[in-house]
């Protein structure tokens, strides 16, 4: 090959790299490992991560059963080693799967359309805020304190250089948005109201009332969803007989649909909206079109919104989606089906309710929010608690409070054992 190139050594091929910036030593890296050694190393590290049975932690990452066929299907290299489907003729598999993802998300949220997915829920929420700024041309946002604190932090990071001003909405004693205060806070200068349901405390917000209030003051309504499973049983934020009570953007995290926790990622964000805002959406979109012989075919579409065409005027700097994770979510929804999803929701609600009642009846700890909940609740703890997430970093005003999560994967004996430990 060197002879064909006309070079006498590989070294010659790098002649444009000046000598004074060349590395004249080997990189200081661990010695190369063989396959058995790699397995040893990673097995040892994995063993140092302890699941300790069911840790009863949710807080934006949920442990649901993941049907085996998901991994079998996404392990096909046709899916996982393919590139972004720019060449539609040889990427119809990826494109159709994304189209199906978009449809599932639109159906579950009650919205008209959804995009091809975003990095995750937190960046998705930031993108939703930027999108609402583009639509409304206003810059003030009211964001509920019951929105996932890390999501709010990401919104702050994105927003701070774009003239966006965030004001927080306090929660009421029942653990939901304080509607009276929201009503006083919201003026005509507000671009959008942002709430989460189920919220970070696990309680279910009055999303439709909030959308109605936002619209009555000329603001958009953004509803964030961290626990996507709940979409299987709760009234969709985008659906209502009255147009005013529908959210404008429903954004969130679909990790619950068959994607493992994986220490925080990769997960899969989604963003759904109304027909009239399609051209302000961030991220990729797959559309159904036709080839020049008239055959139906899927293709990435509306790319004139995107950075490779618009550069600094693009709706977002995003250059990718989370295709493989969106595929996992799509396979998950196809596998559990409408009946399975409903049953999973019921088990989450009933098991969390059982756990909460057992704790109330058998321990000294107190449930501090009375509003209806999905699969999480907040405990004010006397003494120690080795379950759930301590809220002291995010909500210091709650004192020694913990957020606990009980999904369908928790067995009764595990719940009982937890209650026993909390009681002792």
């Amino acid at each position: 090959m060197l002879a064909e190139i006309g070079a006498d050594s590989i070294e010659r091929l790098f002649s444009d790299i000046p000598e004074n910036v060349r590395l004249r030593r080997l990189l200081n890296l661990p010695k190369a490992l063989t396959e058995p050694e790699l397995l040893d190393y990673f097995h040892a590290r994995a063993a140092e991560v302890s699941g300790r049975g069911t840790p009863f932690i949710g807080a934006g990452i949920y442990r649901h059963h993941i049907p085996i066929i998901i991994d079998a299907l996404i392990s096909r290299s046709e899916f996982y080693t393919a590139y972004t489907p720019y060449q539609a003729e040889i990427a119809q598999g990826t494109l159709q799967a994304i189209f199906e993802f978009q449809t599932y998300i639109a159906q579950l949220t009650g919205m008209d359309v959804a995009n091809a997915s975003l990095y995750d829920g937190s960046t998705g929420l930031a993108e939703a805020v930027l999108m609402a700024q583009r639509i409304s041309k206003k810059h003030k946002f009211l964001i509920a304190r019951t929105v996932h604190p890390e999501y709010r932090a990401v919104v702050d990071t994105y927003a701070k250089n774009l003239g966006i001003h965030v004001e927080l909405i306090e929660y009421a004693p029942d653990g939901r948005v304080d509607m009276d205060r929201l009503e006083r806070q919201i003026g005509q200068d507000v671009a959008a109201v942002v709430v989460q349901s189920p919220n970070f405390f696990g309680t279910i917000e009055h999303t439709h009332d909030i959308s109605e209030l936002a619209h009555s003051r000329g603001a958009l309504s953004i509803v964030n969803v961290c626990e996507a499973i709940a979409l299987g049983i709760l009234k969709p934020p985008g659906e209502d007989a009255s147009e005013h009570r529908r959210a404008d953007i429903v954004v969130g995290e679909a990790q619950s649909f068959g994607v493992p926790p994986s220490f925080g990622g990769p997960h899969v964000g989604f963003l759904a909206t109304r027909e009239r805002y399609i051209r302000q959406m961030p991220g990729r979109l797959v559309g159904l079109g036709r080839d020049y012989s008239g055959r139906p075919a899927f293709v990435l579409t509306l790319s004139t919104r995107e950075q490779h065409i618009r550069r600094e005027k693009a709706t977002s700097n995003i250059c990718t989606n989370q295709s493989l994770c969106a595929l996992m979510a799509t396979i998950y929804l196809a596998t559990v089906g409408p009946k399975g999803l409903r049953e999973i929701c019921e088990h989450n609600i009933l098991k969390a309710d059982y756990a909460a009642n057992e704790i109330r009846n058998r321990t000294r700890h107190r449930l501090i929010f009375s509003a209806p909940r999905f699969n999480e609740f907040v405990l004010k703890v006397q003494g120690q608690c080795s379950f759930g997430l301590s809220l002291s970093r995010f909500y210091p005003e709650l004192g020694n409070a913990f957020l606990l999560c009980v999904t369908e994967t928790a067995r009764r004996h595990e719940i009982d054992a937890m209650v026993q430990r909390l009681a002792s």
Binding site: I5, I10, F14, D16, I17, P18, V21, L27, L38, F42, R45, A46, E48, V49, S50, I69, A72, L73, F79, T81, Y83, Q87, E89, I90, Q96, F99, Q102, T103, Q107, L108, V113, Y119, S122, T123, H148, A153, L234, K235, G264, G265, G289, D291, S293, V299, T301, L302, Q307, E312, A314, N317, S323, L324, C325, L333, G337, P338, K339, L341, R342, L389
Partner: protein, 495 residues
């Protein structure tokens, strides 16, 4: 779509959308029996909070689901099938062991909010990857939080902004060469900066004279890709860095092309202050049909205080923990700490190769690109004569005489069994054909590709219509994208 519109009668080629499959009553999943007291959900939640049904969701058996997605998969080109010569995308083979270790249950079930004592193995993985990436890039500190390359760009530019703010003023402008990826200006814009474009010279590199005229105290940084998107090393890079630094500005490098330089030269050694690295390019994490990727950002010491929080730190006793108290941090760029599943795969690749293996990977990547260049340069016009590193850019100038354009050539390659190269980018080359073979392709695979390219050039001359109407062998032909965008159909609806 109705039956008569389908391509053929073969089942595997005529898979409907999933919403048209299945039959009421079929199931692919059962929950264990409820083991807590049963009661109607309406006793717990008010009925007005609940939805009535899940309209449109199909009911499928396990075989239905498996067949459906398996059939879809057969319509995809993928790296395990053959060469993917996409310039700037570094489509190399993804080692199978990466997939195995990323699926170990200790990793997949790990929750980032577990107490530090319970997640030592995961934190150690993140620290080990940070250390390796810092050494490979010649930088001092690394964040693994960004989810993708463009997300890394945003993170890096926000850190540059925070750095300047800490010194009194954020400055106004980011300089970007005209050959840059479109994400660069988009990322700088959402960081609140004005973009100024820097022209390239006849060598295809940054025009130093024009650059010098643009650098002043308003400039926060330059965003440079090296080797640039033409596959050419910016041999003035040390001078460029000095020029920027002399006016208090910083150097951001887009690490998309890091595959050309592992163990050969390091961005940190030629003046780069901030660099993002695409784990899905250089470090073999799979592209997944368009994500998930991962875009760690490496920085020099003076930028370390501005890293997104948390950072992986170590106690005096040697235990790892997430450090959240970072007063000068830009904040969070994503919930939790990045795409851990991708971190595992990238670390596995680095450990499997070691220093010598990574250097050899870059050497072979450059050898392969130059071999293609040598074999095709008499048939396709080289965009620039400057030496190529890991990728080579041609133009369609010679073929355009017969009205055969870059897009046609790419589509015709599909009929020869190859994925098209990157086309129409970089924007400064009219009719650009950008080819990056990577190191994982054998000479036989490259020769097959070269023969196909030569055959297409002959066809362009003799039977141009064959090329202009390609592909001819795929399930669907070229798609009317304009029509699809005019009336977007973005979801299935019952007819």
């Amino acid at each position: 779509m109705s039956n008569h519109e389908r391509t053929s009668t073969h089942m595997s080629l005529n898979e409907r959308v999933v919403f048209e499959e299945g039959s009421p009553g079929r199931r692919a999943f059962d929950l264990p029996a409820l083991d807590v007291p049963a009661k109607p959900v309406s006793e717990i939640l008010d009925a007005n909070l609940l939805r009535e049904d899940l309209p449109g969701m199909p009911e499928l058996s396990e075989v239905d689901v498996v067949r459906h997605f398996t059939r879809l998969s057969t319509w995809n080109y993928h790296i395990d099938l053959g060469l993917y010569p996409l310039g700037s995308c570094t489509m190399k083979y993804n080692p199978k062991i990466n997939e195995r270790i990323a699926r170990l249950q200790g990793f997949t079930l790990a929750h980032p909010y577990l107490p530090a004592a319970d997640i030592q193995g995961a934190l150690e993985i993140q620290k080990a990857l940070e250390t390796c990436l810092a050494e490979i890039s010649g930088m001092d500190a690394v964040t693994l939080q960004p989810a993708a390359g463009a997300h890394g760009e945003l993170t890096g530019i926000l850190m540059i902004r925070a750095y300047h703010e800490s010194r009194g003023h954020p400055r106004k402008k980011i300089l970007i060469p005209d050959s840059a990826h479109g994400t660069n200006p988009a990322s700088a814009a959402i960081s609140g900066y004005v973009i100024e474009t820097v022209p390239s010279n006849i060598r295809g590199t940054v025009d130093l004279g024009r650059l010098a005229a643009s650098v002043n105290e308003d400039v926060a940084a330059i965003m440079i890709t090296n080797p640039n998107t033409l596959g050419i090393f910016e041999s003035d890079i040390a001078k460029i860095s000095e020029l920027l630094h002399s006016r208090g500005a910083l150097v951001y490098m887009d690490g998309a092309n890091l595959n050309a330089m592992m163990g050969i030269t390091r961005p940190g050694d030629f003046g780069v202050d901030v660099l993002h690295i695409n784990l899905h390019k250089t470090f073999t994490t799979p592209h997944g049909g368009g994500g998930p990727g991962a875009g760690p950002v490496a920085v020099k010491k003076m930028l370390e205080p501005f890293l997104p929080y948390p950072v992986v730190a170590k106690t005096a006793e040697g235990a790892y923990f997430f450090e959240y108290e970072r007063p000068q941090s830009i904040g969070k760029i994503k919930a939790y700490n990045g795409h851990f599943g991708m971190h595992l795969r990238a670390l596995c690749y680095i450990l499997a190769n070691g220093a010598e293996g990574l250097k050899e990977a870059s050497e072979i990547a450059v050898l392969n690109a130059n071999y293609i260049r040598a074999k095709l340069k008499d048939t396709y016009a080289l965009a620039y004569e400057s030496p190529s590193l890991h990728e080579v850019v041609f133009s369609d100038r010679l073929q355009a005489r017969k009205d055969v354009h870059v897009w046609d050539i790419g589509k015709r390659l599909i009929d020869y069994g190859f994925h098209p190269p990157t086309v129409s980018f970089p924007l400064i080359v009219p009719g650009a054909i950008m080819i990056e073979p990577t190191e994982t392709e054998s000479k036989q695979e490259l020769d097959g590709f070269i023969e196909a390219m030569l055959a297409i050039a002959r066809e362009a001359d003799e039977t141009p219509e064959t090329v202009k109407t390609a592909p001819h062998t795929t399930r669907v032909g070229r798609i009317d994208e304009a029509a699809a965008a005019r009336r977007p159909v973005l979801r299935w609806k019952p007819e």
